[in-house]
Subunit: 337 residues, 2 copies
Amino acid sequence: MPDYDVFDLGDVVLQHGATLRDAKLAYKTYGELSPKRDNAIVYPTSYGSQHTLNEGKIGVGKALDPSKYFIIVPNKFGNGLSSSPSNTPSPYDKARFPAVTLYDNVMCQHRLLTEKFGIETIPLVTGWSMGGQQTYHWGALFPEMVQRILPICGSAKTSVHNFVFLEGVKAALTADDAWANGWYEKPPTKGLRAMGRVYAGWAVSQAFYREQVHLKIGYSSLEDYLISFWEGRRLTADANDLLAMLWSWQNADISANPIYDGDLNKALGAIKAKAIVMPGRTDLYFPPEDNEIEVSQMPNAELRPIESIWGHLAGGPGSNEDDINFVDDAIRELLSS
Amino acid sequence: MPDYDVFDLGDVVLQHGATLRDAKLAYKTYGELSPKRDNAIVYPTSYGSQHTLNEGKIGVGKALDPSKYFIIVPNKFGNGLSSSPSNTPSPYDKARFPAVTLYDNVMCQHRLLTEKFGIETIPLVTGWSMGGQQTYHWGALFPEMVQRILPICGSAKTSVHNFVFLEGVKAALTADDAWANGWYEKPPTKGLRAMGRVYAGWAVSQAFYREQVHLKIGYSSLEDYLISFWEGRRLTADANDLLAMLWSWQNADISANPIYDGDLNKALGAIKAKAIVMPGRTDLYFPPEDNEIEVSQMPNAELRPIESIWGHLAGGPGSNEDDINFVDDAIRELLSS
């Protein structure tokens, strides 16, 4: 029995031209929608993760409190639950899964909220990493509907450096002959492991390793951390799914759509939502400087870096408690404003 | 005709137990050794490079001036000119090339200077990246001989994070089946290209890409920069050579020898040389914080970061002029003190 629901989107014409027929949006909700339908929080998923990862930050007494709010976690296309290379029927399966943007994702999420739940106003959208990027998209694409946004370790547009970091991640995975241009029968485990190992240097900071944090959180050696956490994390996912999501990430841009026609400052300026933008101080691929530039173009936003050595993992689900508490306090503050 | 000389080391017993029989140290000198043999500058090579790369910073009127100094550039073991997997006869060839430390390298370089040239005092050792790491080794292993050191974007000991970054680089290269555990007949070009692509995100900074520096230095697009510069750079080298040097880098530690027995602070404290330690402000794998900690343990050292967005490439041969001039000024200042 799946622990989530599926919203049938029908045939979705994607931004880049393909039609995703009989598209599925997998989602899970926590709490009850209020009679006025005014207590929804949208909490999109991050790269390579599903709604279950987000659950770590949802709970009674936490900022994302299902006794007060109706929390909707929509699974990203490509994450193995919503339409993905690994679950789409031929001929759009595997290596032929089409390019899906975060614009496509958020437009479909919007359909879920409006068509399924009749929601017209959203008190908060928040998310970490690619979830933060979707948060920015919600703010820019539905400025009248979204009251508040709190993107964590995300950005409105994937920076050139972030794109290059992902080129390295992709190159490591696809260097494995077993990948077979996506037409593998057995998983390209060598490439997936290599991908995990490349990730390990990027996702946490230099100081994280200098202070040997990995030895304090349940790993018996550096190699144990690299294998158990980083290789293990990538081995649980499908390679084509990971590559599909990676494409979405590389091409994330709130202005790459007919509304803003590539004018990023216009898109940032259109975000009416009250915003607290929370980069990780030591994030190596979503560095605070990128968010600082974005916030300067947003009419109602505050930059509030997470002072942490956890790099990109700062404030994300499953990271360390201090950072999560710092973010939770900001969410409470924003929701009460 | 090679443009360099070779010093026959004979049979070298390495730190990790193997014997490198009939070992070769390739080197090149610039300028004339003074009658008192007191004008030598040692300028070791960086990862994946040969003496030719260093030549960009040597010249009349430059800080490393061959009309004043006798500049010796010793090629690192594994770089394809000194003993390397690609040029060592069987049975120590290719994948069987032994583990060589920077201690091994510098001990052999010391033999070149003393046995071949009769040099007893060294006014300056300087180098960039792994050349900077060898510079630290010179200072710690021969404190009575080395008067000044100026390591650029290097460290006394490879940090844990730096080690992890290199794990990613290695994993990308070795994910290619063509690598064949080092027993390839044809180069594993897919892996070498992947390695270059992983490197591209690490070696320069987020701001380098944000300011589109790659488009101002002769590349027509981001992809052109990734292919021409980063993939191209790795394709010119032998995979086993790159892996041999990578091992040396991962295991660099001025205290990992019988003299200091793993006591890094003792080794740093023993460096008598007057030192200017020059990290790149935005270096992602030799960050300034690591040098700052080292300098605090050195009796005669100053930390002088290179304020640059060129990341690890700051101040290295072939990088931008401002950084090179900043480093050259420091070299002049140090030499005149």
